[in-house]
Structure formats: C-alpha cells, structure tokens
C-alpha cells in the first residue's frame, strides 16, 4: 500500500511538469505582453508611453528574453518557492495567492463532501426503488440541476436573497469578521456565507453523482452475490447497504477525478459573480491584464490541487477495494 502511494507520488512529478509547460504556453498565448497592456491602460487615461520607457519596463521584468529562458527562470524560481512578481500589484505573487488558493481549496473540498453526502443516499434510493415516484422526482431535479449553468443559479440566488430576504450574500465573511481572530462566531459566520457558493457549485455535480450512483448500483443489485446475501437471511436494507452499495461506491469515489477540475473551473465564474475572496476572481483579473506570473501561479496551483485530489481519491479507492489493493 505504501509502495502504491509512493509510486503515485512519483507519477505526479512528470504530470506537474506537463502542467507547468501547458500553463506557460497558455499565459504566453495572447498577443502582446504586460508592458503593452499597461501602455494601453495608460493611453486610455491620456498618457502616452514612449518606446524607451516600454523597453525599460520589458527589461525590468525580463519580458524581452527568449521563451525558453523565461520558462526556465520561472520554473527555477518556483522550485525555490518563488512564484515571481505580480506586475499589476507590484508584490511578490507569494503574498497574494496563498490565502485565496486556500479558500478555493476549502470551498472545493467542502462542495465535494456535500455533493457526496447528498447524492449517495438519493442515488441509492433511486436505484433500489427504480421507477418509483421518488426516483422520478430525483431524476427530474437531477436533470434540471445538470442542465442549469451554475452562474445562473448564483445570480438567481443573489436576486432572491437580496430582494426577498434582504440579506447580502456576497463574500465569505461579514465585514466585521474579516479581520477578527478565529472564533466560534467567525466559523458560524463563515458557514452562513459559505453554503451559497457550495450550493451553487455543487448543484450540477450532485445531480450528476446521483445518476452515477444510481447506474452503478443498478448494475450491482442483480449480481449473484446479492442473492447469496439474501439467501443467508439478511434483511433487505442491511444487505443492500452491506453488499451492492459497498461495491457500487468504488466508481463513485473515483469521480473525484472529473468532479474536482469541474469544481475548480466552475469556481472561477461563481466566485466572480458572488464576489468571493478565492483564487478565481484574482485569476480572471490577472489574465485580463496579462499579469503572467500571477496567472501562471494560479493555474499551476489549480492543476496541483486537481492532482492531489485525484491522488487522494485513488488512495481511498485502493483502501476500499481489495481488488485494486491486492493486484
């Protein structure tokens, strides 16, 4: 088992390298660079920047170097824990991102757990009572959930809560608590804000997971080992939870692989709409202003987050399924 985890960890190194390469290509893709975007911004306010100043700016940030050199410098810095400087904020990237990446990770993991907790029992119920009224209701709600884009859910939720309940739902903390030290009150306040992005982000995934669980379990419910369990004299509830659900849950665990990337990219839009202090809005702004090292760091870390999530799900899967663990 330990060997398996070490193998998987080693396997992450080339994956991380590939992600860094892709990230670098992506942040280099748009025409122009930070200097030209900066000049354009100044031009809008009526200030013109002469070529010498532009060149000075480029030299200062190393934008004139060849691509390979820039990439090598960037990756070299990251290996030393230095993500470079944000041009726009004029601060080291390190100071800007960690709290926000942490928030992103927290919201994503919370959403994932909530999705599992909700979809598991509903999926089981839908499969066991296939074609019952409840199954149909769950299916209809599920398809609605999958079909509705989550930014739309966010906007509708914002509208309803501010128009009907007079509650502001932006952010993750009330203004009073932002600078306050950790306390029960702060936690409660956080949760009272956090449920909204969790709800918005989780809707479509939950709906999809209900379908996954239902389909997995339907495949298992008629397997011979279920009949064996019934012939032993087990009660229906106990035998279903103990045998087919136990087997059907394995593919369910591995859904992390595709749910987590969807969550992290969905988070960008939803956090922008809801104005959350997570990595998403920061990334969007960095991309718009071609603040390449900030954008690069955020993309790279999101990729890393997905890799770690996948690793965790693989380890969970190996723990839960002896066929994977032992062969």
């Amino acid at each position: 088992m330990l060997r398996y985890i070490v193998q998987r960890l080693l396997g992450m190194i080339p994956a991380m390298f590939a992600i860094s390469l892709l990230t670098f290509v992506i942040i280099q893709l748009p025409p122009g660079d930070f200097a030209s975007t900066y000049a354009a911004q100044l031009a809008e306010t009526g200030v013109t920047v002469d070529d010498a100043a532009m060149q000075a700016l480029r030299d200062r940030y190393g934008l004139g170097d060849g691509l390979m050199v820039q990439y090598a410098k960037w990756v070299g810095g990251i290996l030393r824990g230095d993500f470079g400087i944000s041009f726009e904020w004029n601060q080291p990237v390190n100071q800007l991102i960690w709290q926000r990446m942490g928030m992103t990770a927290l919201i994503s993991v919370m959403t994932l757990l909530v999705m599992w907790i909700i979809s598991l029992p509903i999926g089981i119920y839908s499969a066991v009572f296939k074609y019952s009224v409840t199954d149909y209701i769950a299916s209809v709600l599920g398809f609605l959930g999958m079909a509705t884009p989550n930014f739309l859910v966010a906007i509708v939720l914002l509208y309803i809560s501010s128009m009907w309940f007079g509650v502001s739902v932006g952010g993750l903390l009330s203004p009073d608590y932002v600078k306050a030290p950790l306390s029960w009150g702060k936690l409660v306040d956080f949760l009272s804000h956090a449920w909204i992005p969790v709800f918005v982000l989780g809707t479509s995934g939950t709906a999809a997971l209900i379908r996954v669980m239902r389909a997995n379990l339907l495949d298992e419910l008629h397997k011979p080992y279920v009949e064996t369990a019934r012939a032993k004299g087990l009660s229906e509830t106990r035998l279903i939870l103990r045998y087919p659900v136990r087997v059907a849950i394995n593919p369910f665990i591995s859904t992390v692989g595709w749910v987590l990337p969807a969550l992290i990219s969905g988070e960008l839009i939803v956090s922008t709409v809801l104005n959350l202090p997570t990595a998403g809005p920061l990334l969007l702004q960095a991309l718009k202003s071609q603040d390449m090292y900030l954008a690069g760091a955020l993309i790279l870390l999101s990729g890393g987050l997905v890799l770690i999530g996948t690793l965790v799900s693989d380890v969970l899967l190996a723990l839960s399924d002896p066929r994977i663990r032992l062969s």
Binding site: E227, T228, A231, K232, G233, L234, R242, P322
Partner: protein, 558 residues
C-alpha cells in the same frame, strides 16, 4: 416425527412482463425427505431454478408465487413458506438457518470486497447469539471441513484470490455454517472443470451423509444426476414431466420427453458416424513447436511469464476433425486463437497449405497478410449470444464476410445468404430479423452459416456446443459433420467435454498447462488413456448411468 421435511404443493410462479405473463413454473408438487438427494433436471427455461428459489421465497422481481404451498416440517408443526411472504423476519429466520443455498457462479456469488471470513461469520452471527471469536473459530472449522488448506489464513482472504473450485468450497462452508436441514444447490458444478466437479460432488455427498441433510440439487447434466440423485424430478417448460427413483428413471423412463432427453445424452456416449477418411492423408495445417508466452505484469522483469501455449506440435489433415480437450487454463482456447493469429505466437511455425498446394507460415504473417487467409480459416465461438452482433440483422451478419472478402453484387450476396441459411437448416426468410429472436441452437446455426459463407477449408471451433442444451448438441454436431462431408472441411474442435469430442472427432489431443500430454485416435484415448492426466480427466466425467456410481459399485462388490 415424519420423514418428509419439505412438501411442495401445486406451486406456480409467474413473471408478468410488459405484454404478457410468463408462467415459469406451473403446478409443481414434490416431497423432500430427510437425508435424500432430489435432483431437479431440465433444459434451460424449464423452470428448475425458479422452482428452487420459490422454496426459499427468493424468486427474483418481477416474478411471484401465484399459487400453491411450501410446507416446511418443524417441531411445532408445518410452516407454509409461501404464506410468510418474501420480506419479513419469519422467512429470514428460515433462510440460511434451516434452508441454505449455493449457486452456479462461484466467481460472482461471493462478495468481491469482503473477506471469506467476514461473509461466513456474518451468517453465523445473524442466526445465532455467539461472539465474534467463537464464530471465527467455527468458520475456520467449516473451511477445514470443506478441505480448504490453511483455513485460518483463508478466512482473511478475498474470493478473487481463490480458484473456482475453492470458491465453491467456501460457498458450501458458508451454506453449512448454521447446520441447515435442507441444502439447495443450483447447478453448483456447472461452471467448474470435470475434475473439480467430481471433488465438489463427493464433498456434497459426504457432508450430506454426515449431517443427514436433505439436498435439492438443480442440474441440466444427466451425468451428474446419475451420480448423485436418489430421486429425480424432470421438468420441461415449467411443468413436472416425471418423478422417479434414479435407477428407475434411467432404466425405464415413463414419459416421451424423458426418453428423448436421455436419448440425446446417450447418443453422445458413443462415437457418432464419421466421414470415411482417405487412404493418403494430406495436411492442411501443420503446427510445429508453437509457443505463446504472456509476460507477467510486474514479475516480467524477473523473466516471469505465463506459458499459455508451450511447444505444441500437431497436424490437421484435410477432411479431418482434431479435438483438443483440457480443463480451463490448459491453453486450448489460446492455441485456437493463435492459429488464426488473433494472438501472435512467441515462437514456432503454423504451416498452412493453401488450396493450390502452396504453403504459408501463419506464425510469421502480419495481421494484414492474415486477412487474405480469413476466407479459408475461420472460427466458430462458444457463446452464440455474444458472437452475433445484436444490432445487425441475420442477413447482414451472414453477408458480412462476403461483403468484405468477395466482389459479389448485393443480389448475389442475398441469394448466397438464402442458400447458406437453408444449408444450416434454418428458414430462408429470416434474413431481416435480429439475433435475439432466436434460441441458442438457432444462433449457433447462424454463426456456422457465417463461418462457411466463404467456403473455408479449416474451421477452428471453440466450444461450439457448450452453451447449448444437450438435446441441441448432437444436432449442431451432426450439421457440422454434414458440412464436412459436403465441403471437405477440416475442424480443430476445442472442448472441455469428452463426450462431445468422442462423438465428433477423429483424433484428439489432451492439453494441460499449455502442452499436449497425449494425442491419438479418439477411441484409443477415450477407452484406453495412457497418460495419468487423461485417465483422471476421463474418470472424472460423470457417466449418465447410475449403476456406475462409486457408492453403488461398492455395494455391489460387498
């Protein structure tokens, strides 16, 4: 206390489907006595398995018991199992505790994610107030009783770590864990090799005598019936045809259906008529020192590999049928596939002689070059349900090789498909129907029509009759023999079933662990096997004659 443990009276089971109702079991009545073995025998769809499940209220949705009673005798009088329903505590107290069941597929009847021990201990603790350590001790004793080596360690292992025979032993240990009065066995040896089957049958028999258990044994195999039954119940299309003692049934069957069933079985007990062999043999395929080794995942770097085919040499002559027999894992199927280059051989030659006398070595051909030979060397597979594409019509299925390999026009192809269907004994107007409309035997005929569409010279037939009911087997074999006479075909006939090989083949090769251990004339091998493995293999085949069974023989000698 009465001797009769179970009284089944006028039980009927229906499966309401969307349009109509399938009467799976109609008005079945029988008694089961303490310590006896009652075999329920019938072909697929006869309702034998449903009958067995009805006894435990285990009929699968949407089936339901619509009439009748099942009385289980107890110290406080009879309990009607039908009246208990299929959910409550009362029926659950009977399942596993008083009536236990074992199933056909030892591969899938045990949970893949729980250890053997967890599953047995769960059953013991479900029915008895006993602590975990005691239950574990008892589970270990049970595994020991069914002769699983190192029972303590086996408790902590998973089903997939065991072979099929060991899994079935574990399954039996679990079924016996609460000392049931009745054991229902639903085709418990069908998925096993003959030698393993013989061991499991002996085990069930021994345990039954030791405990005085009644056994309700469901099977389609008359050989098994002859070996273990005290009494036999013959079923056909949901109805009881005949009930009799095993000796009476085999000696003087009353009903026409029973006679026909026994007839099909006995027909396969002796060699069938064979086409006359020419004086001088001409080889169509000569296999020489063929090897196929599969590297073993992680152990590959240590040079580890599975020798699926390990130095096989064999010649198939024109118009000849060569049988390959062996148990699962002997490499017989892999050998067949290597001959068509579905797998690339590791070494050796497969020299194929074409119609014009030129020779090619299939072992060195590329897959593209092999395509040119697909018209001449073809394959027929075991499972006609899986080998015909369910989304293609019969006409398209049979026409496909013609379309790919010939330049015939659509009209010519249509005529040819009609001729082929007629040749395999099917109506010619079924071309626009789909495979699901046909039974297993009909599908295998269609698969054969597809195989002969290009007038091949050699057909590799991989267990073509094992998925078929016994009454259909010799029909398909007779068809294959007629085609052989007409077209001068040669067959490589792969089978685990000695009876079928004896009926159909000229020569037979016995395979074990990728090697041929014995090869020779079919009568020679079947009557006077030389190699100990061949002897064991042939000795383990249950003969459809109850006077040959070991306990009877012993009694006769005494």
């Amino acid at each position: 206390m009465t001797d009769i443990l179970l009284k089944v009276r006028h039980v009927s089971v229906d499966f309401p489907l969307q349009k109509d109702i399938v009467h799976a079991v109609r008005d079945v009545s029988f008694d089961l006595r303490r310590g006896e073995t009652l075999c329920v025998v019938g072909e697929s769809g006869s309702g034998k398995s449903v009958t067995a499940r009805a006894v435990m209220q285990l009929v699968a949705e949407p089936g339901r018991i619509v009439a009748g009673q099942v009385h289980l005798a107890g110290p406080d009088g009879d309990t009607d199992i039908v009246a208990l329903g299929n959910r409550g505590a009362a029926i659950r107290a009977i399942r596993g505790r008083r009536i236990a069941m074992i199933f056909q597929e030892p591969m899938t009847s045990l949970s893949p994610v729980h250890t053997i021990g967890q599953q047995i201990i769960e059953m013991i603790r479900l029915h008895e107030k006993i602590d975990k350590a005691d239950a574990r001790r008892r589970a270990a004793q049970l595994l020991d009783r069914v002769r699983i080596p190192d029972p303590e360690a086996a408790l902590d292992r998973y089903a997939f770590e065991f072979s099929g025979g060991m899994r079935q032993r574990a399954m039996i240990a679990m079924a016996l864990s609460c000392n049931p009065e009745i054991l229902i066995a639903d085709e418990p040896t069908t998925a096993l090799d003959v030698t393993t089957q013989a061991e499991i049958l002996a085990l069930i028999r021994g345990l039954q005598q030791e405990r005085g258990m009644a056994v309700l044994f469901i099977t389609h195999d008359m050989g098994v019936v002859a070996q273990i039954a005290d009494r036999v119940l013959v079923m056909y299309q949901g109805r009881m045809i005949e009930e009799a003692g095993v000796f009476d049934l085999f000696a003087k069957p009353r009903e026409a259906y029973t006679r026909a069933l026994l007839g099909s079985v006995l027909k396969l007990e002796s060699p069938g008529p064979r086409p006359v062999r020419p004086q001088t043999e001409q080889a169509v395929m000569a296999i020489s020192d063929l090897c196929l080794h599969f590297p073993l995942g992680q152990r590959a770097r240590a040079g580890g590999s599975v020798k699926a085919v390990d130095g096989v040499s064999l010649t198939i002559n024109t118009g000849e049928t060569v049988g390959i027999v062996g148990e699962s894992g002997s490499g017989k199927t892999t050998l067949g596939r290597t001959l068509l280059r579905i797998y690339p051989p590791t070494s050796g030659q497969v020299t194929y002689t074409r119609d014009d006398g030129s020779k090619v070595d299939i072992a060195t051909l590329s897959k593209t070059q092999m395509k040119a030979l697909y018209g001449e060397v073809r394959m027929v597979f075991q499972d006609p349900h899986a080998s015909l594409n369910p989304r293609m019509t019969i006409a398209r299925i049979i026409a496909e090789p013609l379309r790919i390999n010939t330049a015939l026009s659509d009209r010519e192809i249509r005529d040819r498909v009609g001729q082929l269907l007629e040749r395999v004994g099917m109506p010619t107007d079924i071309g626009d129907r789909y495979p699901h409309a046909f039974s297993g035997g009909q599908r295998q005929r269609i698969a054969i029509a597809r195989a002969i569409a290009l007038r091949p010279r050699l057909i590799v037939a991989d267990e073509p009759t094992s998925a078929l009911d016994v009454s259909l087997r010799h029909q398909v074999l007779d068809l294959m023999r007629d085609l052989q006479t007409d077209y001068g075909l040669s067959y490589l006939f792969i089978s685990h079933d000695i009876a079928v090989v004896r009926y159909f083949c000229d020569r037979v090769a016995v395979m074990k662990n990728g090697r041929i251990v014995e090869i020779g004339d079919v009568a020679q091998i079947c009557e006077h096997p030389g190699h100990p493995y061949t002897k064991a293999l042939i000795g383990a085949v249950p003969r459809p004659d109850p006077t040959l069974r070991p306990d009877v023989q012993i009694r006769v000698q005494a």
